[in-house]
């Protein structure tokens, strides 16, 4: 058995563990909850329209997985799921592209920083929220020629609101992750 075959086996094992049945089901359920929260929560709390739980989930998944490939695939999945519930005048793929990039960058950053630190996580979360909003606005303007207003100051405030939600959410997800590993 040479080195390449060892590597192949190792990667297969890791991919098996990554896409184990439990994890896939868990991810699908989490994605569904996140999308429903964005779909339904604003009916109860109007200010929750700015809450991006699917994005927070994508960032978390990217930060926790050093491998960018599953992170970007997860981002694409979540984004397309969101696109499917977007207004019919918005084509599918807008959120998909944006969240693919977020997932990829989050995983890339996690290779270079210690993302177990909560402060770093929140800073990254804030940064990615702004990037996500800005890139989405650029895409709507550039690809669809839709003149959507973009207020940087408001976006920054919404980013703060999101990291305030991300803090407890990430703690809960950390607990779930520990219990899964145990």
């Amino acid at each position: 058995m040479n080195e390449s075959s060892d590597h192949l086996l190792r990667s297969r094992r890791s991919s098996e563990s990554l896409f184990s049945r439990f994890q896939v089901v868990g991810l699908v359920v989490l994605t569904l909850i996140a999308v429903i929260s964005k779909f339904y929560l604003p009916r109860l709390i109007p200010s929750a329209v700015w809450l991006e739980v699917p994005l927070l989930l994508t960032i978390y998944f990217g930060l926790m997985r050093p491998d960018p490939v599953p992170a970007l695939l997860f981002g694409a999945f979540v984004g397309i799921a969101e696109d499917s519930l977007s207004p019919a005048n918005l084509p599918i793929g807008m959120y998909g592209i944006t969240k693919t990039l977020v997932g990829y960058f989050a995983a890339s950053v996690s290779q270079r920083f210690n993302v177990e630190n909560s402060l770093i996580r929140l800073v990254l979360c804030f940064f990615f929220y702004f990037f996500h909003a800005f890139f989405y606005w650029v895409m709507r303007r550039a690809l669809l020629q839709q003149l959507v207003p973009f207020d940087p100051r408001e976006t920054l405030l919404h980013g703060l609101f999101n990291i305030a939600v991300a803090l407890p959410l990430y703690l809960v997800l950390d607990r779930m992750k520990v219990s899964q590993e145990a």
């Binding site: 429903i36 207004p87 084509p91 990829y104 690809l143």
Partner: protein, 432 residues
């Protein structure tokens, strides 16, 4: 082989990223180019998510409803809901009636209305929002099974809400008028100025109105029907500000409906155009405010003759007693009045035959000013019974010569004559 594999491994994530992005961009370009909506993916997603959201909403609604129905209000909630539905429908019909009554073709329109109901609608409840925070869209719990089709108008009795953007078997997606991509043809009430409503910039503006057009603040705008979505004659909103702009007028509108906050809407299955009403919108009738209260300067703090407190009542009683016994308070040589005597009742005022029983307030004579303690005595005035005292003029008159001056305390008191009227001092010259 190993070298190629290692090289692939180092670029693997980047290659996957590029592939995924390119695939999505191509797919997106295909949708934009062909104008087609990828229905299959949307149907799957909507079918997966909306039942859960429906369950959550139904659970929340029923839980709260149960508590209110059986613990707080019994069946009032259900009755209220039914009444609200009926009221909404009646208000819509009322708008139609009022609009048509203002037109010249009164009889013709009534006949038309009898044969065809205006704007056949179906009620729907909002169950969820769109996932795009910047896009304004909601999902309602009525779909193609209820007869809803894409492009139908969605309204409330207060105003317009949006249009159906996508229809699924059990739910529909409604694009709100506040979405940046949504425009509505509108028409002003007075000048019938046509424009295009755009609410995508955070506030609603009516575009394509020339500076020369006359638009006043508070003027109503209605749907013009030119967008082929909303029937003509539905209220849209009132003008908040209308200022001349660069080429076109800057007209800002305040929407009369609440597109984002409404919970129940009406989907117009069959719209009927109506005329723009010439009068104000009847639903917006506001109670006429009361006139301003009279200032203290007008009546000296209290209305003359009106009794405000117990002290006032007592004062009035003593004044009546004093008047009946010809006693003037504060004046010298006036007999001590009997405070235990009962004041004489006021004789009823005889009404003239044929005259109205109640005269308008502005035709009343000016009320007699209440006597003030310490006022001079008028001994020469005719002794009139209480209640039939002569009316005092509203304008201040010069003091009559028979008024006795009031002397200060401690001044030497002249001895009064034993008989005859009390001498009076000369009065002040009459004021012009």
């Amino acid at each position: 082989m190993d070298a190629i594999f290692n090289r692939y491994r180092s670029y693997r994530s980047l290659i996957v990223l590029v592939v995924v992005i390119v695939v999505q961009v191509l797919y997106l370009a295909y949708q934009v180019r062909t104008g087609r909506d990828e229905r299959l993916i949307r149907v799957w997603a909507v079918s997966a998510v909306t039942p859960m959201a429906g369950i959550v909403e139904a659970t929340r609604h029923n839980t709260i409803g149960f508590l209110k129905d059986y613990f707080l209000l019994l069946d009032v909630r259900e009755q209220n809901r039914q009444l609200k539905r009926d009221n909404d429908q009646l208000r819509l019909e009322n708008v139609f009636y009022r609009n048509q009554l203002t037109t010249a073709e009164h009889a013709q329109t009534l006949t038309k209305f009898q044969t065809k109901s205006p704007s056949k609608t179906v009620a729907a409840r909002v169950i969820g929002d769109s996932t795009v925070s910047t896009a304004k869209a909601v999902f309602v719990d009525r779909g193609s099974t209820s007869g809803i089709e894409k492009g139908m108008a969605v309204v409330t009795p207060d105003g317009i809400v949006g249009k159906v953007a996508a229809v699924y078997p059990l739910v529909s997606q409604v694009l709100l008028v506040t979405d940046s991509t949504f425009k509505v043809g509108v028409e002003s009430q007075k000048g019938h100025v046509h424009g295009s409503l755009n609410c995508g910039l955070g506030h609603c503006v009516v575009e394509q109105i020339q500076n020369e057009e006359d638009i006043a603040n508070g003027e109503w705008f209605f749907t013009s029907g030119e967008d082929r979505i909303f029937p003509k004659g539905f209220p849209v909103g009132t003008v908040v500000s209308a200022q001349p702009g660069n080429g076109m007028k800057d007209v800002r509108l305040n929407l009369s409906g609440a597109p984002g906050g409404t919970e129940e809407v009406l989907v117009v299955l069959e719209g009927v155009h109506q005329a723009i009403p010439t009068n104000a919108v009847p639903e917006e009738k506001i109670a006429k405010p009361l006139p301003a209260p009279p200032s203290d300067k007008d009546n000296g703090g209290a209305l003359p003759g009106t009794v405000q407190t117990e002290a006032d009542k007592l004062k009035q009683k003593y004044q009546q007693l004093g008047k009946a016994q010809e006693h003037v308070y504060g004046a010298m040589y006036s007999n001590m009045p009997n405070f235990n005597a009962k004041p004489a009742p006021k004789p009823p005022v005889a009404a003239e035959p044929g005259a109205p029983a109640k005269t308008p307030p502005n035709t009343n004579p000016p009320p007699k000013p209440a006597p003030v303690l310490g006022a001079p005595v008028n001994k020469t005035a005719p002794n009139t019974p209480p209640g039939n005292t002569p009316k005092a003029p509203a304008v201040k008159q010069p003091r009559p010569p028979s008024v006795k001056p009031v002397l200060p305390l401690g001044s030497p008191r002249p001895k009064p004559p034993m008989e005859g009227p009390v001498s009076t001092a000369p009065s002040a010259p009459p004021q012009q």
